[in-house]
């Protein structure tokens, strides 16, 4: 398997490794080399340019790539894997529930909407406090709140499910 598809920022970039030790993107060929600097950082050379890159892996297949002050979340699949996942995703898209998760750890200090209430996009549902700042958690879509999973005064971890909008 020498063809990879990398997902980054909703884009897919196809990268082919050729037999001559080069890689190819969009019909352009590049020489490359990767050198391990320390436990988490690497030096990547593409053509004559050299980049310092730090990698954080989530243990699964996702990478968090820090480079020039930016962090890119990437997902690498072989061309074959990518095809299979695309098919699966098309199937899953039929589900319509939107799960809203905590964007960061913090404490729920106020819940403004109850389960069963109708909300429109951008409407504030609850207030999550972190680092002394009150953050409005808003509905990303219009729909009906279902299953408010948390209560006021509760602390939540990043990524905890807060509520579902149907």
């Amino acid at each position: 398997m020498n063809d990879f598809v990398v997902s980054v920022n909703d884009k897919k970039i196809k990268i082919d490794f050729s037999a001559n030790g080069k890689l190819e993107i969009n019909n352009s060929e590049y020489e490359y080399s990767l050198s391990h600097l320390n436990s988490s950082s690497y030096l990547l050379k593409i053509g004559n340019e050299s980049f310092l890159i730090t990698l954080k892996s989530d243990g699964n297949s996702k990478y968090f790539v820090t480079f020039k002050g930016q962090v890119f979340e990437t997902l690498v699949r072989s061309a074959l894997e990518d095809k299979v996942y695309s098919l699966i995703n098309a199937k899953l898209k039929q589900r319509t529930n939107v799960i809203v998760k905590a964007p960061m750890p913090g404490m729920i200090i106020k819940i403004k909407k109850k389960a069963g209430e109708k909300v429109s996009p951008g409407e504030s549902i609850l207030i999550l406090e972190a680092m002394k700042m009150e953050n409005d958690i808003r509905s990303p879509v219009s729909g009906i709140i279902e299953n408010m999973k948390i209560g006021e005064g509760r602390t939540v971890e990043k990524g905890a499910e807060l509520f579902i909008i149907k």
């Binding site: 398997m1 020498n2 990879f4 990398v6 980054v8 920022n9 884009k11 970039i13 990268i15 490794f17 890689l23 993107i25 590049y30 490359y32 990767l34 320390n38 988490s40 950082s41 690497y42 990547l44 593409i46 980049f51 310092l52 890159i53 730090t54 990698l55 954080k56 990478y63 790539v65 820090t66 480079f67 020039k68 002050g69 930016q70 962090v71 890119f72 990437t74 997902l75 690498v76 072989s78 894997e81 299979v84 996942y85 699966i88 964007p103 960061m104 750890p105 913090g106 200090i109 207030i127 406090e129 972190a130 680092m131 002394k132 700042m133 009150e134 953050n135």
Partner: protein
């Protein structure tokens, strides 16, 4: 002079104060919470003491613990840094009562300037111009709405005990008033322990200009020019510079005089900052006085050559200012970027976690005030400021060029930082021209989708990921033979 100073703070400002102590031959004693064991200040200080759990109320904001420690280890003075106890007159009084010197103003001056409503009254009496609004806290929603209708929307609701941009909300109509009022009160109570809120007329498109002053205990007052701090997000400064491109000589004379008048009105000694809003016609209004060292003090240090922390310590020890107004000159231009662990593309939400790589910029005109190391954690208990990057140049353009160079060299991995966001600001044509006000960030970066990453960067990160994965697969195969994890995952998904 003092022999030993306790630093009742953390992060970059604790480090800054430790460095001043070392420069002066004073023993520095630092405190840290459980969450900060791996922070830089615990390594640089001469003595370090753990004082409690991560929550500030159990550690950095625990008056008894800090004062008990100060007595036990026999310090002559306490430096509060900024935030925490720096503007808490009860703490200052308690320190004074123990016969320990507080490196800052008297508790009386702090109390006079601490409540914004009292400060506004005092300024009005001393002919320092203030923003139109109430000089008393608002007692009810009805009263508040009535007042807003009198002076006209939009207005700003502000915590009387507030500062640092927290506890502040813009209200544009009667409809929004009550929920904004309640939210401001809640935030004020939580952040400042006092839920008094007052109303100010919202000044359209002002600049935030502040004046650094310094005064000793012998009645000598000197200003150290202005700073321009209009580049803010969530009402908090992210870029500060000195001098301001907007302030001409005539205005400079007027505003620095007003600042000295404000400081004299509260019998001030120590370094202090008088913040003003300045409108398009260069009319300015007193906003508040910060009776402490400011986060952005380094830009003033770079243009004047004065070490503000050292001066603070000397003043606290009873020494006279070593310079007069006529000795102070400003040279060149300095800009500070606050490097925050936050996601600029997601409403500036703080980003926490371990710093897994940390490589600092250096070179001519670059100064970094930071408090972390590779391996330190940005925790959710404190402000997510990672460091301050300060660049100096003979003029503004050269300072901006150095800032862009330094930002491109700064490599921080783990938490997300605002480095790409700052870079975009420094490249913005209106910023470069000096053509901006406090709404600059909101106007230029929040409404449009500025946050498109450069395509070339996406490509590099994709190439890296693919190359890394390829190498990884090769080494996995070498060590454990073929594995069919991937195909198992597909089956799991299909069965879902």
């Amino acid at each position: 002079m003092f022999k030993k100073i306790l630093i009742a703070n953390r992060g970059e400002i604790a480090v800054r104060i430790i460095r001043a102590c070392k420069d002066m031959g004073i023993t520095s004693a630092a405190v840290y919470s459980e969450a900060d064991r791996h922070s830089l200040h615990t390594i640089l200080a001469d003595e370090v003491y753990e004082i409690g759990e991560a929550q500030a109320s159990s550690s950095y904001l625990n008056k008894e613990k800090i004062i008990t420690l100060a007595k036990k280890i026999k310090v002559q003075a306490i430096h509060p840094g900024y935030g925490f106890f720096s503007e808490n007159s009860d703490f200052i009084k308690a320190v004074e009562n123990e016969g320990i010197v507080f490196i800052g103003p008297s508790s009386k001056s702090v109390a006079m300037m601490g409540k914004k409503t009292d400060a506004r009254t005092l300024m009005k009496k001393n002919k320092v111009p203030i923003v139109p609004g109430t000089t008393e806290p608002v007692v009810s929603i009805e009263e508040g709405i009535r007042f807003c209708k009198d002076i006209g929307f939009p207005v700003l609701l502000k915590a009387s005990a507030g500062g640092g941009g927290k506890g502040m909300r813009k209200v544009t109509s009667t409809k929004e008033f009550d929920s904004a009022f309640e939210a401001t009160k809640r935030e004020a109570l939580k952040s400042f322990g006092n839920d008094d809120v007052y109303i100010e007329k919202y000044i359209e498109s002002p600049r935030h200009i502040e004046v650094q002053i310094i005064a000793d205990k012998h009645g000598n007052y000197v200003h150290l020019y202005e700073r321009e701090c209009s580049i803010q997000r969530r009402h908090q400064k992210i870029i500060e510079e000195a001098p301001s491109v907007f302030v001409d000589e005539k205005t400079r004379k007027k505003i620095t005089t007003a600042a000295i008048d404000a400081a004299k009105a509260c019998g001030y000694f120590n370094a202090g900052t008088i913040e003003f809003l300045m409108d398009k016609d260069k009319k300015f209004y007193f906003l508040e006085m910060n009776t402490r060292l400011q986060v952005e003090h380094p830009v003033t240090e770079l243009i004047t050559g004065i070490d503000l922390v050292k001066e603070q310590i000397q003043i606290a020890a009873g020494e006279k200012l070593s310079f007069a107004q006529k000795d102070v000159t400003a040279k060149g231009h300095a800009i500070e970027s606050r490097i925050y662990a936050e996601d600029s593309q997601n409403n500036f939400l703080p980003s926490i976690g371990e710093i897994i790589e940390y490589i600092k910029p250096a070179g001519p005109g670059v100064r970094i005030d930071d408090g972390f190391l590779k391996g330190s954690k940005i925790s959710l208990y404190y402000d997510p400021l990672v460091s301050k990057l300060i660049c100096y140049g003979s003029n503004r353009n050269s300072a901006i060029a150095r800032m862009l160079r330094a930002l491109s060299e700064y490599h921080i991995a783990g938490p997300v930082t605002n480095i790409p966001f700052l870079t975009k600001i420094f490249k913005h044509k209106d910023f470069v021209k000096g053509n901006f006000d406090i709404n600059f960030v909101e106007k230029n970066f929040l409404k449009k989708s500025y946050n498109k990453n450069e395509e070339s960067s996406e490509k590099i990160s994709a190439i890296f990921s693919a190359v890394f994965q390829k190498h990884n697969i090769i080494s996995e195969k070498k060590s454990s033979g073929e594995n069919n994890n991937a195909s198992n995952k597909w089956l799991d998904l299909l069965n879902e």
